[in-house]
């Protein structure tokens, strides 16, 4: 499957709603083991909300190794690539941490460390 992001989203991949739209298109094919190519030709602006929803969210359903091997990118510039990589790393970490937290404990522990 190949998806032209410019045709489906436009030249700016920055909002979560567009990310969700992309996620909806690609999640099932990836779950079934299909290779998916996202073509970013004509897309010039990127931000994390789009990729959090389009790609980071995939890790809730598909192992990271499969996302990395089945999902391909064409015409994605260096800025976009760096955001995608950061988003996948972050999603993998948060997925592993499994809602990680007692936030209050985390904040107070960090504060205690900083004031040592």
């Amino acid at each position: 499957m190949k998806l032209s992001i410019k045709d489906t989203i436009g030249p700016r991949c920055i909002i979560k709603e567009d990310g969700q739209k992309t996620f909806t298109e690609i999640c099932d094919p990836l779950k079934q083991g299909e290779t998916v190519t996202l073509d970013f030709y004509g897309v010039s602006q990127f931000a994390t909300p789009f990729f959090n929803f389009a790609i980071g969210q995939l890790l809730n359903y598909i192992p990271e190794t499969d996302v990395r091997s089945l999902l391909h990118y064409e015409n994605l510039n260096e800025t976009g690539k760096s955001v995608v990589e950061r988003v996948i790393e972050n999603a993998a970490k948060q997925h592993a941490d499994k809602q990680y937290r007692d936030i209050v404990e985390e904040i107070l522990t960090k504060q205690a460390k900083e004031s040592d």
């Binding site: 700016r12 920055i14 909002i15 979560k16 010039s44 602006q45 990127f46 931000a47 994390t48 909300p49 959090n52 929803f53 980071g56 969210q57 890790l59 809730n60 510039n77 260096e78 800025t79 955001v83 950061r86 988003v87 972050n90 999603a91 970490k93 948060q94 997925h95 007692d102 936030i103 209050v104 985390e106 904040i107 107070l108 960090k110 504060q111 900083e114």
Partner: protein, 295 residues
């Protein structure tokens, strides 16, 4: 209805100037209050103050108050020129002061207007010609700045929108952008998020900001990993040698070449200001494959 006269002082962008703004917020933080802003003592007005005062005026209006900016009291020519050029004066009733189109406009966003905000950042702010950047880098910088607006709309629960203003200062060769919301503020948001914990109300603002600025930290509950926006912004500002400052409730953080510092300030307000100062040195605005120096 009572009318409060607020004397606008000289307002730069040092922490003490932000405290003056928060003092003004405290003076008008009420319902059914009419406010008149008097500029007779205002000798300087930075874009952070422009964005803050614009948003504050809309906040007062949203609480059934009336706001008058008394332009007849404005005598300082630099300030007069600035608020006319950025369109602020025209937005608030100075009909004799149309924008001249050659500055970074004052902007009000009631909703998250993706194309409007991105055009502003891309063409009126970073791409206005203050510094030479390739289209690719211009787009990358605008994408980083978008994270500020995205966070403000998504996390602050602002009922009246987001207010911004920028300016290029040729003498310092810096480019500034201030984005203000009058939502609940980051520390308050975190305290509310963990509200069932009895320690939540006592969480210090500086500790809350430190948590929020760590990669991957977010109060979102949609099951989608988040919390990268501030992280990417921090990285960019540090590479640029610039400065990122956030005031939120009584918390303050500054990120610059010396690292990150978190503080609790004396005066608090409900909301968040993100204030970015970038250096315009063209050597700092190149990707690694465009030249030896890189951003």
């Amino acid at each position: 209805m009572p009318q409060q006269v607020i004397q606008i002082p000289r307002l730069n962008d040092y922490p003490s100037d932000f405290e003056k703004l928060f003092t003004i917020w405290n003076q008008v933080n009420d319902y059914n209050l009419d406010v008149r802003f008097d500029f007779s003592r205002c000798g300087f007005l930075r874009p952070n103050a422009v964005a803050f005062l614009g948003g504050l005026a809309r906040l007062v209006e949203s609480r059934m108050g009336k706001v008058v900016f008394d332009w007849s009291t404005l005598r300082e020519s630099w300030v007069k020129t600035t608020v006319r050029q950025n369109g602020f004066a025209a937005v608030f009733g100075d009909l004799a002061a149309p924008r001249d189109g050659n500055s970074i406009p004052y902007r009000e966003d009631r909703n998250l207007d993706m194309n409007g905000i991105m055009d502003y950042l891309t063409y009126n702010w970073i791409g206005k010609g203050w510094v030479y950047v390739s289209d690719r880098l211009r787009d990358a910088v605008a994408g980083r700045m978008w994270e500020i607006y995205s966070n403000a709309f998504e996390h602050s629960d602002t009922g009246i929108g987001v207010y911004s203003c920028g300016q290029h200062f040729p003498e310092q060769d810096t480019l500034v952008l201030s984005v203000v919301d009058f939502g609940q503020g980051i520390p308050a948001k975190i305290r509310n998020f963990v509200g069932n914990d009895p320690r939540a109300p006592g969480l210090p603002a500086d500790a809350c900001l430190r948590w929020a600025f760590k990669r991957g930290k977010s109060t979102c509950t949609e099951g989608v990993a988040r919390g990268l926006g501030l992280d990417l912004l921090k990285e960019f500002v540090q590479l640029n040698g610039g400065k990122l400052e956030v005031y939120s409730n009584e918390g303050y953080v500054i990120v610059d070449k010396n690292g990150e510092r978190y503080e609790n300030r004396r005066i608090s307000f409900e909301g968040t200001i993100v204030h970015i100062t970038l250096r315009c040195d063209e050597k700092l605005y190149q990707f690694s494959d465009e030249a030896e120096s890189s951003v």
